[in-house]
């Protein structure tokens, strides 16, 4: 197929249009259409995986079309080892998300239309190679998200929705400025491939108000991405949005949307501002550390299960930041330690994917219990293990995966991150290993309070997790397990791209030239 990537991106829009023509009382049909469309999308990504050439570190399946020549805006798509896992993750979670939302009965038509629109936006960001296109997709996600939280969310949904919207918009307008600054300083193009080559040279030594242009652009982009990750101190929208959003949206939010920030940093900051990487790596690691510890401590104190899981996302994304920072190990000033750089970066990318599957699983499971008990107060349960053994088993799997138990993919990525970052950031890594203790503490404590202890009479007739719900959790659990036992399929996929990325950061970035 020639336009495979375009199909993957625009298929949901097609579905959205189809849904628009279905009368709104035929809610089953609407759900089926949504399921079919995201199913086909998933199949397409699997097909893409089959024909994807893992040995190539550059972009594949490139598409290029004239768009607005007067401003050098082009429609460019492409996929590489960095974006493919994310595309797959989105397709998978998008597909699962449809089934997670099967119980939605309020304005089904609107819900699934927006859901598919969101899908397109996210896919677009991962596949766009034109900065303008990238930005459009980046923003397209916001509005569906606002509605999905605001209409189908919990009691504080309006507040949560607007907060999410404002936070992210504030970040993205700064990003827009940075994009334009890059455009005008680096040869008037939005083509990322060109910018990756011209930006490091063009920005070299440029000063704005006495500040290095690289630093300014880096910080602008970073804030835009950091809000999405979210990096402390831009994280406060996250617990709220998660708590208020309907389950499927929490799943997508945690599973995919948070990755956009990291993806953006790796795709843009790292390639276009390699000098900035060296300048900022320390701060990145420190922020990662704060995320890890702060997120874990907040999670430890939560009484709302969903909020706990939300803070665990803050905590987990912190590891990713630490891993990313390890890329500087490969520079000459850090002793050409390519091993560390690969471990750290590989760990970071792997952690992104793993957090996607694991947190999605966690949120689905939180949704399952919320649907039944209509509350999420950790202390309000107790002894559920006896009443819902299968559910308990899945929560146990998800929690253990979340706390980084070997055998689950999260362990490998966290271990790689620590190993990779250790040579460069010894103290930070040592303190952040405390995070793995805290991880275990908050997960196990919550697990004990919910499932252990004498059976709670109140929940005697709580129905066990049903087939549909199992269908949503099992694939994620299986992926987590398989990759936890044998991570080669994933790591081989990203390996070539990762090495290209590390090489470009290290060879183009140097500490001395730019500042």
């Amino acid at each position: 197929m020639n336009y495979l990537l375009s199909w993957i991106i625009w298929l949901p829009i097609l579905g959205m249009v189809t849904i628009a023509f279905i009368p709104r009382d035929k809610s089953e049909l609407i759900k089926q259409v949504a399921a079919i469309v995201s199913g086909i999308q998933l199949l397409l990504t699997i097909y893409l995986w089959r024909i994807f050439d893992q040995s190539v570190g550059t972009f594949q399946f490139m598409e290029r079309a004239e768009w607005i020549p007067s401003f050098n805006i082009t429609y460019i798509l492409g996929v590489d080892g960095l974006s493919f896992p994310m595309v797959f993750l989105m397709a998978l979670i998008g597909f699962i998300g449809v089934f997670v939302s099967w119980n939605i009965d309020k304005a089904v038509k609107g819900y699934f239309s927006l859901f598919l629109l969101l899908n397109t936006g996210v896919m677009g960001v991962f596949l766009a190679l034109d900065f303008f296109l990238f930005y459009i997709f980046w923003e397209v996600m916001l509005l569906p998200m606002y509605f999905l939280i605001g209409i189908w969310g919990g009691p504080q949904r309006e507040y949560a929705a607007i907060k999410f919207f404002l936070y992210t918009l504030a970040g993205s307008v700064l990003m827009l400025i940075a994009i334009l600054a890059l455009y005008f300083t680096c040869g008037k193009t939005f083509d990322m491939l060109v910018l990756m080559e011209t930006a490091p040279v063009a920005l070299n030594g440029m000063l704005w108000w006495g500040m290095s242009a690289i630093k300014v652009i880096w910080v602008l982009l970073f804030i835009g991405f950091a809000i999405k990750v979210p990096v402390f101190p831009f994280h406060t929208w996250l617990p709220l949005a998660h708590v208020e959003a309907p389950t499927a949206i929490s799943v997508i939010l945690a599973g995919v949307l948070l990755k956009l920030g990291i993806y953006g940093m790796l795709r843009i900051n790292y390639t276009m501002l390699p000098d900035g990487v060296f300048w900022f790596a320390g701060a990145l690691a420190v922020l990662g550390l704060i995320n890890v510890i702060w997120g874990a401590m907040c999670a430890l104190a939560q009484k709302d299960l969903k909020k706990l899981v939300a803070y665990s996302s803050v905590n987990h994304m912190g590891y990713t930041l630490i891993g990313m920072a390890a890329v500087i190990a490969a520079s000459t000033m850090n002793g050409d330690n390519l091993i560390s750089a690969q471990a750290g970066m590989g760990g970071a990318v792997f952690q992104m994917f793993n957090h996607g599957t694991i947190s999605a699983m966690l949120f689905i499971l939180v949704g399952v219990i919320y649907d039944r008990a209509h509350h999420r107060d950790i202390d309000g349960f107790g002894g559920l293990a006896a009443q819902m053994p299968i559910y308990t088993a899945f929560v146990a799997v998800a929690f253990f995966a979340g706390l980084g138990l070997p055998g689950f993919s999260g362990f490998i990525s966290e271990a790689m991150i620590f190993i990779g970052a250790f040579p460069v950031f010894k103290t930070i890594v040592i303190i952040s290993t405390l995070g793995i203790l805290l991880n275990a503490a908050y997960f196990l404590w919550a697990f004990q309070r919910i499932f252990f202890g004498p059976a709670n009479e109140k929940y005697n007739d709580l129905p066990e997790i049903n087939t549909r719900e199992l269908f949503t959790v099992v694939p994620l659990a299986v992926i987590t397990l398989i990759l936890g036992i044998y991570p080669r399929p994933f790591l081989d996929m990203i390996s070539a791209t990762l090495n290209v990325l590390i090489d470009s950061v290290v060879s183009l970035g140097g500490f001395t030239s730019a500042f």
Binding site: W67, I68, P69, S70, F71, K106, A107, Y135, I136, E139, V140, L142, L143, Y146, F147, G150, I151, R157, E158, A161, I162, F165, L166, L169, A170, V173, L174, L176, I177, L180, A181, Y183, F184, W208, W209, A213
Partner: protein, 496 residues
């Protein structure tokens, strides 16, 4: 060009004049209830005018001995004016407010107003500047106070007339000083004279610049000359509010661009990529500060409003601020950005106002609470209003984003000394999300979902809204035709 020769290039205005006359005469012939039919005459005239404008070709020449210029730049604005006038007239059919009045006059005044705006966008002589502004103002006073029995409308027109007269008076004083310094009323001669003046006359020049700015600032409602705007916008009939927020503003910007760049520019204005202020007059810095102040004040106060109409009034101040960002840059891309912004602003702002008019007539109010759960009751209106709100905020993939994008792009292109302005603008657009999305919130997030769906009662309304919505959406991701049009129109009379 002599007066007679000029007429050959003056077809649009001539047709418009005839339209005005026809409208006045037709009004005399109709009975009170039927006077609304005048609108069709006017619409026909406007269509002919539009045709004439488009046929006019791309000639660039001064007409009537250098009073007005005929160039694609002014044609561009003329099209905008005609479009907004026609749309407002169409929407007026459905206005509840006008029902109690004889409306024939209303339409003829609108066409006179358009004529004034035509003059404004093509004026290259300060006499014509004053004349045009006065024509526009006086007609606006009429229209603002058209609802004779409505005290608010009265109050609006009183405030408008006094504030208008006051600011045009100050502007006139400034123009008189400028006349004294240069001894001419023609833009290009003035520019020449100023560039040969020594720096000792800078004080007087600054005085005149500031005084002139009072008049222009009043027209585009820039801070601190914006105070009339909310009150007048709120009191006027909503159709007129919509019109005032678009057409005169567009014309005001055309005038500002022409006047400031060609009189206070360094003589290479519009011909080179970017240029400097004549004698290093500090007006660009002034303009930048005013732009920042304008959008900030507009946005912050808009947050506070409980009436959607008044909110839109303040938001129009904010939009003026965004456009003003591009003025101090003195670059082609800045002017370009303003032109693009004006086109998309026309569609989205008129759209928002027209939805408001429709909601007024259906629900009976114009506060946020009147929009409660509207999105469920009238999905068509809800979706369109959402589109307009999102576009006004400047989110892709709507036209509003493209407008902002070009403005920001021009600011960034101008170099790092204006980055702060881009920051202020960017953060302001975040703030603007607060109140735009509030409308959406009331439409969808508040109140019960209703099972019954209402479709717009009038096909005309549906048509007009769709006409506005399509470009608002399409230009968001396919703006090639738009930029091409602006590109072709970017030919400005440069003096002899």
């Amino acid at each position: 060009m002599s007066n007679f020769n000029s007429l050959a290039y003056y077809w649009p205005e001539l047709i418009l004049t005839v339209t005005i006359l026809v409208a006045v005469i037709a009004d005399l012939c109709y009975r009170r209830e039927q006077s609304i039919n005048v609108a069709w005459w006017v619409l026909g005239g406007l269509a002919l005018t539009l045709f004439a404008v488009r046929m006019g070709g791309s000639s660039v020449s001064p007409l009537f001995m250098g009073m007005v210029a005929s160039d694609p730049f002014s044609d561009f604005f003329k099209v905008l004016i005609l479009l907004s006038t026609a749309l407002v007239i169409l929407m007026s059919f459905n206005s509840n407010e006008l029902k109690d009045y004889r409306v024939g006059e209303y339409f003829s005044i609108l066409s006179i107003l358009s004529f004034g705006l035509f003059l404004m966008v093509s004026a290259i002589d300060i006499l014509m500047v004053y004349l045009a502004i006065e024509i526009v103002s006086i007609m606006s006073f009429f229209l603002a106070g058209y609802l004779k029995k409505n005290p608010h409308s009265n109050e609006a027109s009183l405030k408008y007339v006094i504030y208008g007269a006051f600011s045009s008076g100050i502007m006139l004083y400034g123009l008189s000083i400028l006349f004294g310094l240069t001894g001419t009323t023609k833009f290009f001669e003035m520019q020449n004279a100023i560039s040969s003046l020594g720096s000792d006359s800078n004080l007087a020049l600054i005085l005149s610049v500031v005084f002139i700015l009072v008049g222009f600032g009043y027209k585009i409602s820039a801070v601190p000359f914006h105070f009339w705007t909310p009150d007048v916008y709120e009191g006027s009939p909503t159709t007129i509010t919509a019109y005032l927020s678009v057409a005169p503003k567009a014309a005001g910007f055309a005038l500002l661009i022409r006047f400031f760049n060609q009189v206070f520019g360094d003589g290479t204005a519009m011909t080179s990529e970017s240029w400097m202020a004549v004698n290093n007059l500090p007006w660009p810095e002034l303009m930048a500060v005013l732009a920042a102040a304008t959008m900030t004040v507009g946005n912050l106060v808009a947050i506070q409003q409980n009436s959607v109409k008044r909110m839109l009034a303040y938001s129009s101040i904010a939009h003026a601020g965004y456009m003003m960002m591009a003025l101090p840059l003195m670059s082609q891309s800045g002017v370009y950005g303003i032109m693009i912004y004006l086109v998309v602003y026309l569609f989205m702002n008129l759209g928002a106002f027209f939805v408001l008019i429709y909601v007024q007539s259906e629900v009976g109010g114009e506060t946020f609470n009147d929009f409660d759960s509207l999105g469920w009751k009238m999905p068509f209106i809800g979706i369109l209003m959402t589109l307009f709100m999102v576009s006004l905020t400047g989110l892709p993939p709507t036209a509003g984003f493209i407008g902002k994008f070009y403005i920001f792009a021009s600011v960034i292109e101008a170099g790092s000394q204006y980055y702060w302005l881009a920051f202020v603008g960017a953060l302001n657009s975040v703030v603007s999300l607060y109140y735009y999305i509030r409308v959406v919130k009331h439409m969808y997030l508040i109140g019960e979902r209703s099972e019954s769906i209402g479709l717009p009662s009038s096909n005309l309304v549906t048509l007009v809204l769709i006409v506005l919505a399509i470009p608002t959406f399409i230009f968001g991701w396919y703006f090639g035709p738009l930029t091409d049009w602006v590109n072709q129109s970017f030919v400005i009379y440069q003096g002899m």
